[in-house]
């Protein structure tokens, strides 16, 4: 009886180890093999001289390739409305002029932290069926007007 219980115990431990190893393997493969990545690149910047380091706005650098520079401040995104035509690849460069914010485009997997003192750089490949209006919200508490901090992303397909 005791032997049977012990066997069950070891079987469960083995199952746990195998399961977690598989999960980790999938994660590692997705990052290294498929290039999925959480945001990691950032350069430091001086909050007092932001204009010299980032110019809020949208630039199309090649057909379908956009560079979008954004400054977050209490309580708006600058620019607050982003229009992209047939985007294939979008490089966001974002920083904050005051406190922490969170940049989330609802309905996509764009979601990351925005810090004062750091310019974050994130590349997004919009799915080809992404079209129309998307709500952009701030999802990190940033002071009493946090709920007023939202904007719009418009994707036009032609």
């Amino acid at each position: 009886m005791a032997g049977k219980a012990e066997k069950l115990e070891y079987a469960w431990i083995a199952l746990v180890v195998v399961m977690l190893t598989i999960f980790l393997g999938i994660l590692g493969y997705a990052v290294i093999g498929e290039g999925y990545s959480a945001p990691e690149d950032a350069v430091t910047c001086n909050v007092k001289k932001l204009e010299e380091q980032i110019t809020p706005g949208v630039k199309e650098v090649a057909p379908g390739v956009y560079e979008v520079d954004i400054v977050a401040r209490m309580w708006a995104w600058q620019p607050n409305e982003i229009v992209l035509e047939n985007p294939k690849k979008v490089i966001f460069r974002i920083t904050s002029a005051d406190v922490q914010h969170g940049f989330e485009i609802v309905g996509t997997n764009v979601n990351f932290m925005v810090f004062p003192g750091y310019i974050a750089e994130i590349t997004w490949y919009p799915p080809s069926d992404a079209e129309g209006e998307f709500l952009i919200v701030c999802n990190e508490y940033c002071g009493l007007g946090h709920q007023n901090m939202y904007g719009k992303l418009i994707i036009i397909r032609s």
């Binding site: 219980a5 069950l8 115990e9 469960w12 746990v16 180890v17 977690l20 999960f23 980790l24 994660l27 590692g28 997705a30 990052v31 999925y36 990545s37 959480a38 945001p39 990691e40 690149d41 950032a42 430091t44 910047c45 001086n46 909050v47 209490m74 309580w75 005051d98 406190v99 922490q100 969170g102 989330e104 609802v106 309905g107 997997n109 764009v110 979601n111 990351f112 932290m113 925005v114 810090f115 004062p116 003192g117 750091y118 310019i119 974050a120 994130i122 709500l135 919200v137 701030c138 999802n139 990190e140 508490y141 940033c142 002071g143 009493l144 007007g145 946090h146 709920q147 939202y150 719009k152």
Partner: protein, 553 residues
């Protein structure tokens, strides 16, 4: 030793009673804030509080519940388990002075919050600035807990000296693991608060966001094990005895405690998966440790279930699931613990999703996370502590529970309400509803699909909040007006705590070695992100108040 009464531990029990009453009051205030903010952020609800009030009570909700209610309950529980199981007195100076500091610190921070000058939420992310009293109160609270924790280790060493070859009793092992994790977690946080945040609040010192965040989450994750290990201890040690059985595997239980000691701290970066400025390597290392620290939870799931099955069969349960029916579901100390344990399983599943950092950005900072931690700290810990209270009130106050009928129903109502609340919030989170936001409808710009889920969450919240209100009422009524009982209430907590199966000491009982290994893992895991942060060079930014005022140039 179990039968030795309160007289020998009169002082310890006095502190436990104070801690318990303070914890219940905090639960009441925090719960009231919870239901208020829930209704305020529900679609169609009238905006009956201002944004400032919303964020003020949200700060209070986080601090009073996640920190103060849990910590004070854990102190009362730890006192009881250590004194009754080891039969050793706790240092009066450490325990008494520590409890005093902890209460004073909580009150200072609490008043700073209630005065509206600390609407920075319980994570107090720099450079948002609160009133200095908020940070000082928090620091005093932490120092108080250190003295209390020291009292437990002193008692343990004293016991060990008298019993050099005995293994550590199971309940004590759980409590020691809890406090070891607390001592791993808190010193760096206290260091950062004193080095950066107090000067920031007092004279406007500029600070680095990534650095202070990394210190915060260094603390933030082991904090969750500080809540969970006592609950796990209760499931291993008290539940089986309530059901009339014994723990399925003592060794597995002890291994789980050791794994908690080893891996609950080197994982904090899993709260920073979407932080720019931290490399994928650091994120991956912390992911690996996070999966390792999921192991003891999975072991616990197996062990507790097996324990319950054995107990159910010993009570005459037959068939594949028939043993479930014979368990003592009418005993609230039992049902609360088991229901909390079931909920913990679901919390673990959503936790593994959070920890998988390439899907984390789907759920980060959405109400998915709110759904997740109401399962873990909000239920696995809180509902277990409620169940334990049904034993601790009779044991410490000498009074039975005021209304047995209410106590019997309360855990089930919590379970049902929480299931609705949490399921709705997990789903709403996948649709992108942000957390920590007063009015998430964005003046009509929010997707319509959010609305039914938020309404369902409000319904679930009302249900479990009423269960919470019933609990606090019943607990306070028992303390003030419960029927007085003769020495031994049934079930008797002192007997439940006593560990009769203590055998010889083994490798699992050599806590200092495990602690050293834990420190090595922490140094390894944190060398990477801190190297990255400091080698890039800090980027200092000035403080800003929640109103948007800048105090320095």
């Amino acid at each position: 030793m179990a039968s030795e009464g309160g007289a020998r531990f009169a002082f310890e029990d006095k502190i436990s009673r104070a801690a318990l009453v303070f914890a219940f009051l905090m639960l009441a205030v925090g719960g009231l804030f919870g239901i208020t903010q829930l209704l305020a952020r529900t679609p169609y609800a009238p905006q009956f509080i201002s944004a400032k009030t919303y964020y003020t009570i949200l700060t209070g909700h986080g601090v009073f519940l996640a920190i103060v209610w849990t910590a004070f309950f854990i102190v009362a529980f730890s006192n009881y388990v250590i004194t009754r199981e080891l039969g050793v007195n706790l240092s009066r100076t450490l325990l008494g002075f520590g409890a005093l500091l902890a209460i004073v610190g909580s009150l200072i921070a609490g008043l700073a919050i209630l005065s509206g000058k600390a609407a920075v939420l319980y994570t107090f992310y720099a450079p948002l600035k609160a009133h200095p009293a908020f940070y000082l109160g928090a620091a005093i609270l932490i120092i108080g807990t250190w003295l209390i924790g020291a009292a437990y280790f002193k008692a343990y060493l004293q016991w060990k000296k008298a019993n050099p070859s005995k293994e550590i009793p199971l309940g004590t092992m759980g409590i020691l693991a809890t406090w070891i994790v607390w001592f791993e977690a808190t010193p760096p946080l206290a260091f950062m608060v004193l080095k950066d945040l107090v000067p920031m609040a007092l004279w406007g010192k500029s600070v680095d966001v990534l650095e202070t965040r990394t210190y915060f989450w260094y603390f933030g994750h082991p904090l969750v094990y500080f809540w969970i290990i006592p609950a796990v201890t209760y499931w291993y040690h008290i539940l089986p005895k309530l059901a009339g059985g014994r723990v399925f595997s003592r060794t597995m239980a002890k291994v789980a405690f050791i794994l908690f000691i080893l891996a609950s701290t080197p994982v904090g970066v899993h709260h920073q998966f979407v932080d720019p400025g931290i490399s994928n390597i650091a994120k991956f290392v912390h992911t690996v440790f996070t999966f390792i620290v999921a192991t003891p939870s999975l072991l616990t799931a197996f062990n507790v279930l097996a324990t319950l099955e054995i107990a159910g069969r010993m009570r005459g349960g037959k068939g594949f699931l028939g043993w479930l029916k014979t368990l003592p579901w009418r005993e609230p100390a039992f049902s609360a613990g088991v229901l909390a344990f079931i909920i913990f399983g679901f919390g673990g599943i959503s936790g593994v999703v959070n920890a998988s950092y390439i899907v984390n950005y789907i759920v980060h900072n959405t109400v998915w996370v709110v759904g997740h931690f109401h399962l873990t700290v909000g239920t696995a810990a809180t509902l277990t502590f409620m169940g334990a209270s049904y034993l601790m009130i009779p044991a410490l106050f000498g009074r039975s529970i005021y209304s047995q009928a209410l106590a019997r129903a309360q855990p089930f109502v919590w379970f049902i309400g929480m299931s609705i609340f949490s399921f709705s919030l997990h789903t709403a989170g996948l649709l992108g509803v942000p957390r920590r936001t007063y009015n998430v409808m964005y003046a009509g710009n929010a997707p319509d699909a959010w609305i039914p889920l938020l309404l369902a969450a409000a319904l679930g919240g009302i249900v479990f909040a009423s269960s919470g209100a019933v609990f606090v009422f019943n607990a306070l009524a028992s303390i003030l007006a419960g029927p007085r009982i003769n020495p031994h209430p049934k079930p008797n907590l002192a007997e439940l705590v006593d560990d009769e199966e203590v055998g010889p000491a083994g490798a699992l009982d050599r806590l200092s070695i495990w602690l050293l290994l834990a420190l090595a893992l922490i140094v390894f895991a944190y060398a990477i992100p801190f190297y990255e942060i400091y080698s890039t060079g800090l980027s200092l930014v000035p403080p800003v108040t929640p109103e948007g005022l800048r105090l320095t140039g």
